[in-house]
Amino acid sequence: MPPIGGEVPWRPTAAHVRAVLGGTALALAAVLLRRPDLLVIATPLLVVALWSTLTRPGTLLSAEARLRQTTLREDEATTWQVRVQLAPRTEQVVCVAGPSPYVALHPASGVRVQGVREQDGHGHGSQEQVAQTRVVHGQDEDGRFEHGQDAHGQDAHGQDEHGQGDDGQDERMAGSRRTAVAEVAVQSRRWGRRAVAPGLVAAGSSWGAFRWGPVELPPLTLTTLPLPATFDAAAPAPHPSGLVGLNRSSRPGDGSEFAGIRPFRAGDRLRRVHWPRSLRTGELHVTSTFADQDGLVVLVVDALSDVGRSEGVGGAASSLDTTVRAAGAVAEHHLRRGDRVGVQIVGTTGVTRVPPSTGGNHLRRVLDTLALIEVGTDPRPPEARLRLGLGADAMVVMLSPLVSPVALQQAVTLARHGLTVVVIDTLPSDLHTREEDELTRLAWRIRLLEREHEVQQVQEAGIPVVPWRGPGSLDQVLRDLGRRSGVPRMVRR
């Protein structure tokens, strides 16, 4: 972002007008009315006015703002930095970070006031080249702020590329003009991409007589990755089919899961020979194993609606909060097991599909995509939104609050095409309407009853619907699906 505010002049403040007018008027009155007491009263104003005029900053300032990290995880913090190219005789810099939804500032007011130390005895910046000059240790009413880590695990306490600390205030030389850096800590409380810290910056001269600004700083974009909820599942994926992974295959092969002991055949590895059995029987026997295979898990995220109130991480979660964090948790779990994970988001614009893949980088890709969800922004009809193009070996995990019947219709459609579908219900359990209108409350109750009936119908169609409960949410369902996977099914192709 280019520096701004270079055209903003220094303007006299009400304080300077007061000192000049008040001092001059009192001095004139003292002279004309022969009242030395008025001259004494005028003295402080006259001295201040004269002092302020003699130390008026001559050149213009410019400022720029940036975020030290532009991508965080929920509950992590970074710093909003404002760099001001100082003019000689600038005495203080004030920056204010504006409030943003789901963003906590520290100090809570978002205000930083930095005093600028004089460089020499005449109020001019020294021409001496000084690489870095720490001047003021930042303090605020709450003490020092604990920075978190950025999305890459980098400690935000560390110094940045300019060697600046995290005390919120700094001053350094750049050529003949010094730069003041003021920082406000920014902590993101909810996943998503949003504009943060539309701020203001101003500077003042001695006695507060002249002011530069306040200049409006543009908002900066901060992307917050969802913090995956805690999740674990002991049950394997129902249809493992790939070549790598931790799921036990239904077929024997090279793996780690014991299958049995059988006579040696050509091609068996010598390290597989089971010597005790071979010695007893007088014939070579080998240990056979099941192959370790990966599964394909596709997460279908329902972003058609967001029900409930979101208070950010640690507070009440809306349905979309639960959906996104649960999707991140399920993706993380399966990727760690070596499964391939894909994501399809319904109801949002932009990136709506992440092709199936594996690995840690893929988890970051999944979280990045989840962070970009904008609820209910896809104008396409519901039937046009879901195009998975998957084989029958895939397991589809649909995460939805099931408020709209569209999600359940999609689940039934996928199941009829032979896919294994599990629906995770992410509607908050403690959801209550706060509407005062009796009709609205009645309508919501009716909708919940309809929803209950629809869920029952879907379950009768063979699609398990489980509420999100964190670890173990899917264990029983996945075991049942694993047992059912060997049974012939009738599907619509």
Partner: protein, 179 residues
């Protein structure tokens, strides 16, 4: 914006003041009555309406330190001093002038930063040091006027203007030495 909305906004701002700002606003609120008190001690007659106006102006300055309310307050105080204090060589003019200095300085410092701002030590020390320097200059000018009153020189506008020029010169010297 309606008057009630504006009043509510000002009240909200006052409740969110930082500790430093509260001290500054308290000084802004207390110094106008202090000047009035000095006038009373210097022989001015007491009048309820003057006290009410001064307190009201003080509260106005607290609510809006970055406005010309402080200039209005100073003008009113100077007018009442001129009208009510008969002795132009009263020593109570020194605390009155110092109260004016504190009023101006506190209002300027308060107006320069947002209400919730916490001033860093460098700024606080700088304001305190400079205020002390100007206070010394004020006492010095009072000493000159008192000495002139004792010596009873003939009234001379030229001498007064020369004194003003002297004050200006002293201010520049003090500015260079006081930062």
């Amino acid at each position: 914006m309606s008057a009630s909305t504006r009043a509510g906004r000002v009240a909200d701002e006052l409740t969110l003041l930082s500790g430093h700002q509260r001290v500054l606003r308290l000084l802004v609120c207390l110094t106008p009555p202090a000047v009035l008190g000095c006038a009373l001690l210097a022989g001015a007659p007491f009048a309820w309406w003057v006290l009410v106006v001064v307190v009201a102006l003080g509260l106005l300055c607290v609510a809006a330190p970055d406005s010309h309310a402080v200039l209005l307050t100073l003008a009113f105080l100077a007018w009442r001093w001129l009208a009510d204090v008969a002795d132009p060589r009263t020593p109570w003019v020194v605390p009155a002038a110092l109260a004016v200095l504190v009023l101006h300085t506190a209002a300027a410092a308060s107006a320069g930063v947002p209400g919730s701002a916490v001033l860093d030590p460098l700024i606080r020390q700088r304001w305190l040091r400079r205020t002390a320097v100007v206070a010394l200059a004020t006492v010095g000018v009072w000493g000159v006027t008192a000495a002139a009153g004792t010596l009873q020189p003939a009234p001379s506008a030229v001498a007064t203007l020369a004194a003003v020029a002297l004050v200006a010169s002293v201010a520049e010297i003090l500015r260079r030495s006081g930062r």
